[in-house]
């Protein structure tokens, strides 16, 4: 097969196979050497969140993950429910994560138990790494409490090194603040420490290790800490996202905590697209998104399409109504939370993502030559005889990369995933990393299951036009 036909065939087949459904629910053991979509789907079924947490509490809610499909009738509906551990119902959804709502002790205090430990974690289908987390998951479960609670949090250290937990943004006695060496002795391996304090505020907070932060935060020891106000829910959907960034080089299986700026896995709730579950909301729902950012080095401007939102709070508390302003993008600085509220008044499938373009790439290398505008066929002719299987890429960007890899024609190192995205209803979604889809659907809607792709009303999808059509509007196509 000639270079020319191979290249064109791959492009053609990428379109043809773009919408094919893949995915099985059986547990996969070894890392795939080539990036195989089926094996990749298997590996995400072994996801630590589902396996470790759900199995212990609500076995029936084990989410059966599969990539989105353009043929919803044939596909299994993916569960989007957040597994919960505790006496109280959870009020905030943690996509791809879980919640810990506490168990009430005889004296009325709410008791939580966190165990710091090593976790095999799947960032996306085909990309798994040994991380550090709490209660068998990365990041730890979202702690939910209510203003006025007295919380009693047991922290067990099952790591090989000492650790502490800091309750980020929470007002508490200095000795409960969790700074190793300053506020307390570090929790040695095998030890369990007790943190106890009253909750005197409400809002969006976080928790994370405050001992050898560079290593322990980089490996994932973080979680969201949401405190609800005393009165009941004031929004229809309340969703928490922990933003993070990692360096997992293709062919390796442990995040590198020494990374300073070359992070290549950007996550929402420790998932990179296409590993992120979509967020389903009902039409005209009032929606609250809580973003926490414990990325080691980067801020993230998170942008939602088709809507605007109002930034209502930070980890310092609620922003007074007079100080709020509408936005479509909220900048979430590292070490901060941002809470936004919005009305889902536009039906459809809407992208939500970090607007830094390198943050919507998966495992992109940063040392490759700039191939844009390079005559790829001439390069192929020159290099292919020497390196069979070589094919020039990137001469017009990176959009073709994911589909080539996904079809298995371009073998990649073990434990690596395509630069971008996954199959969408109209072809390839050329985004990865800190990206997810927000699906606004007519009510009533089951927000705990993936509804599939939006069925656009006739005439509401951008389309190709002929020269005659364009000419009717005076647009001349020559």
């Amino acid at each position: 097969m000639s270079t020319y036909t191979r290249r064109d065939w791959m492009k053609a087949s990428a379109v043809a196979l773009g919408g094919a459904a893949v995915g099985r629910a059986s547990r996969a053991t070894p890392l795939p050497v080539t990036w195989d979509p089926v094996a990749a789907a298997d590996s995400i079924a072994a996801d630590s969140v589902a396996a470790a947490n759900v199995a212990a509490t609500t076995p029936d809610s084990l989410p059966a993950l599969a990539p989105p499909t353009s043929a919803p009738g044939q596909a299994r509906r993916r569960s989007l429910a957040t597994p919960v551990d505790g006496d109280r119902p959870n009020r905030v959804d943690t996509p791809n994560g879980s919640a810990l709502t506490g168990r009430q002790a005889d004296d009325g205090a709410w008791v939580y138990h966190l165990t710091a430990e090593e976790v095999e974690h799947a960032f996306a289908p085909g990309l798994t790494a040994t991380c550090w987390g709490y209660n068998g998951q990365v990041h730890g479960p979202t702690l939910e409490a209510v203003e006025g609670d007295r919380v009693r949090i047991y922290v067990t250290n099952r790591l090989g090194v000492a650790t502490t937990v800091h309750w980020h943004g929470v007002f508490l006695p200095s000795g409960m603040d969790g700074v190793g060496g300053l506020s307390q002795a570090p929790i040695a391996p095998g030890e369990t420490f007790l943190y106890e304090f009253p909750i005197t505020q409400s809002g969006t907070f976080m928790y994370h290790s405050h001992h050898d932060e560079m290593t322990q935060i980089a490996l994932g020891l973080t979680g969201m800490f949401v405190v609800h106000p005393r009165r009941g829910a004031d929004v229809d959907r309340d969703v928490a996202f922990m933003l993070h960034e990692w360096l997992v080089e293709p062919g390796t299986s442990r995040p590198d905590p020494n990374a300073m700026s070359d992070f290549n896995v950007l996550t929402m709730n420790a998932r990179a697209f296409p590993g992120t579950d979509p967020i389903v909301v009902g039409h005209n729902d009032r929606v609250r998104f809580r973003f926490g950012n414990l990325s080691p080095m980067d801020h993230h401007p998170i942008h939602l399409h088709g809507h605007y939102w109002t930034i209502v709070g930070t980890d310092g508390g609620a922003i007074p109504a007079a100080g709020r302003w509408p936005e479509t993008t909220v900048l979430v600085p590292t070490g901060s939370t941002r809470t936004v509220e919005w009305t889902a008044d536009a039906l459809g499938d809407w992208a939500m993502h970090c607007h830094m373009t390198h943050h919507v790439m998966n495992q992109m290398g940063h040392g490759t030559p700039n191939m844009v505008g390079v005559d790829a066929r001439a390069l192929d002719r020159s290099v292919q005889p020497l390196a069979p299987g070589y094919m020039a890429m990137g001469e017009n960007g990176m959009d073709e990369h994911g589909s080539h890899v996904e079809q298995g024609h371009m073998p990649v190192p073990e434990n690596s995933i395509p630069m971008v995205g996954a199959a969408g209803p109209f072809g390839y979604i050329t985004m990865g990393g800190m990206y997810t889809n927000v699906k606004v659907r007519p009510k009533p809607v089951d927000v705990t299951a993936d509804p599939g792709w939006y069925d656009h009303p006739a005439g509401t999808v951008a389309r190709a036009v002929s020269a005659e059509q364009a000419a009717r509007d005076g647009v001349r196509l020559t």
């Binding site: 080089e249 293709p250 062919g251 495992q363 992109m364 290398g365 040392g367 490759t368 030559p369 700039n370 191939m371 844009v372 505008g373 390079v374 005559d375 001439a378 390069l379 020159s382 290099v383 005889p385 020497l386 390196a387 299987g389 070589y390 020039a392 890429m393 990137g394 990176m398 990369h401 080539h404 890899v405 371009m410 073998p411 990649v412 190192p413 690596s416 630069m419």
Partner: protein
């Protein structure tokens, strides 16, 4: 007298022994030696009808792709210098015949005419150097020793040429393979240059990157020139050994050397299955013993000693035994022929043979010293070759089983890294370059192994190889600097 002359004639016939000059018979012994030791067929082209058959054999051998075995066979049939060496056998054999011949008898006649007149006193005599008769067996033994030495040297020359041809064929094959690798390296550098040019045309790299790639490419082309020169030279060296010229000199050289066999055919080299390391150990002592037992060089030196000793014995005989001329004389006295013996004796007054004896002793001592010197060299050579073979075997096997698959895997994984957009086209080319470089080094190692094998084979066949093989195989490799990382 009538009763005596036939007796004399009988004695002469009896003494003459082997008087025929038959070097072909001697060559048969050489052929047998060579066949037994090296499984080679030597042919002496002596201007007979068999020559045509030998020429036809050469022609037919040259039609197939050329292996080292074929090259050796052609050389043995066709190398004129070797044919010239065969003539040494003729010389030695002739000398042996000469040694068996007695000096020709001296015929004398005299006539004395009395001054006062009368019948002349006529005398006829036939005189023999009788010492010749005594010394003849000794002289023949000396000549036989020299003849044996000549035979050993000719057989040695055959074995030498075979080994030299084999080595030349190995080097030519290795150089051809290295040349093929260098062609790959050039193609690789050209691809890098092309990539840089395309990137430059798209406006994506600065001029310095393009120039750097071009510099690598031009250097690779220069290295190719060197590799081509080396291949041509080693090919010519082979052609010389094979004695080819004209259209025959265009030999269809097979480009690849055989891989190192997993099981060594040499009994002394333990194979990888027996020890943990590929190629493992050699039994140098056993090789040493076998080499000493087989050595034609030592045989020749021993023959030299014997010849010197015998020459010394001969000297003693000649010096101490008075020169004795015995003959018969016919004399006519008073008209009657009388026959009677006549004896002359040289008095050992002046030359008592002391000078010749001293020279003889010196020659004996020299022959003994050379024998011992050769024995020392031989043992050391045996140990050196045993070690070299073991090392070369391990190195070549290491390339075969480990380094080359590793390099191939690195290239494959680099392509995966490329597919994962972790490295660019230059990373891919660099991995391929490293693979080609490893292959070229492998051919060096392979050549070193086969040359060491040939050298050791020659040693065990009884000839001492020159020990330049390892060094030459390494010196042939063209130098090349792998391209810098991009």
């Amino acid at each position: 007298m009538t009763g005596r002359l036939p007796l004399l004639a009988l004695v002469l016939v009896g003494l003459s022994g082997c008087t025929a000059v038959r070097p072909q018979a001697a060559f048969g012994d050489v052929q047998a030696t060579v066949a037994e030791r090296a499984d080679l067929r030597a042919v002496w082209v002596t201007g007979t009808a068999e020559d045509a058959a030998a020429r036809a054999a050469v022609d037919s051998l040259l039609t197939d792709s050329l292996t080292a075995d074929v090259a050796v066979q052609v050389a043995l049939l066709n190398n004129r210098r070797l044919q010239a060496t065969y003539e040494d056998l003729g010389v030695a054999q002739a000398m042996l015949v000469q040694a068996g011949l007695l000096s020709n008898p001296v015929f004398g006649a005299r006539g004395l005419w009395p001054a006062e007149g009368g019948a002349p006193d006529l005398g006829l005599s036939v005189a023999f150097d009788f010492l010749d008769v005594f010394a003849r067996p000794l002289r023949q033994r000396v000549a036989r020793s020299e003849y044996a030495a000549a035979q050993a040297r000719v057989a040695g020359a055959v074995l030498d040429l075979a080994a030299q041809t084999r080595t030349a064929a190995i080097r030519a094959q290795a150089d051809a393979a290295r040349l093929a690798m260098q062609v790959r390296v050039v193609a690789n550098a050209e691809a890098g240059y092309t990539a840089a040019r395309l990137l430059r045309e798209a406006g994506n790299v600065p001029a310095v990157d393009l120039l750097a790639e071009q510099a690598l490419y031009e250097q690779a082309r220069l290295d190719l020139l060197v590799a081509e020169g080396a291949a041509a030279e080693s090919r010519e060296a082979l052609i010389r050994r094979m004695g080819l010229s004209g259209p025959q000199a265009v030999i269809p050289l097979r480009a690849t050397l055989p891989a190192v066999p997993a099981e060594s055919p040499l009994p002394f080299v333990r194979t990888s299955t027996e020890a943990g390391v590929p190629g493992a150990a050699v039994d140098a002592e056993a090789i040493e013993r076998a080499a000493v037992a087989a050595s034609l060089d030592l045989d020749a030196r021993r023959a030299d000693i014997e010849a010197a000793a015998r020459r010394l014995g001969l000297t003693d005989v000649e010096a101490l035994v008075p020169t004795l001329h015995a003959g018969a004389e016919l004399e006519r006295t008073d008209g009657e022929w009388e026959a009677g013996p006549d004896v002359e004796v040289a008095l050992p007054l002046f030359d008592q043979g002391q000078a010749r004896r001293a020279a003889g002793y010196a020659e004996l001592r020299r022959a003994q010293a050379l024998y011992e010197a050769d024995a020392v060299d031989l043992r050391s050579t045996a140990r050196t070759l045993a070690t070299r073979l073991a090392t070369a075997r391990r190195a070549a096997l290491h390339y075969q089983t480990t380094v080359l698959p590793l390099r191939a895997e690195v290239a494959a994984q680099t392509l995966r890294q490329y597919n994962a957009m972790q490295t660019g086209v230059f990373g891919v080319l660099q991995a391929q370059q490293a693979e080609a470089e490893a292959a070229r080094r492998y051919f060096d190692a392979l050549a070193a192994y086969w040359v060491a094998r040939t050298d050791l084979d020659l040693l065990l066949q009884g000839r001492m190889p020159s020990l330049d093989g390892g060094a030459l195989a390494r010196a042939n490799a063209p130098s090349s600097v792998p391209p810098a990382a991009h």
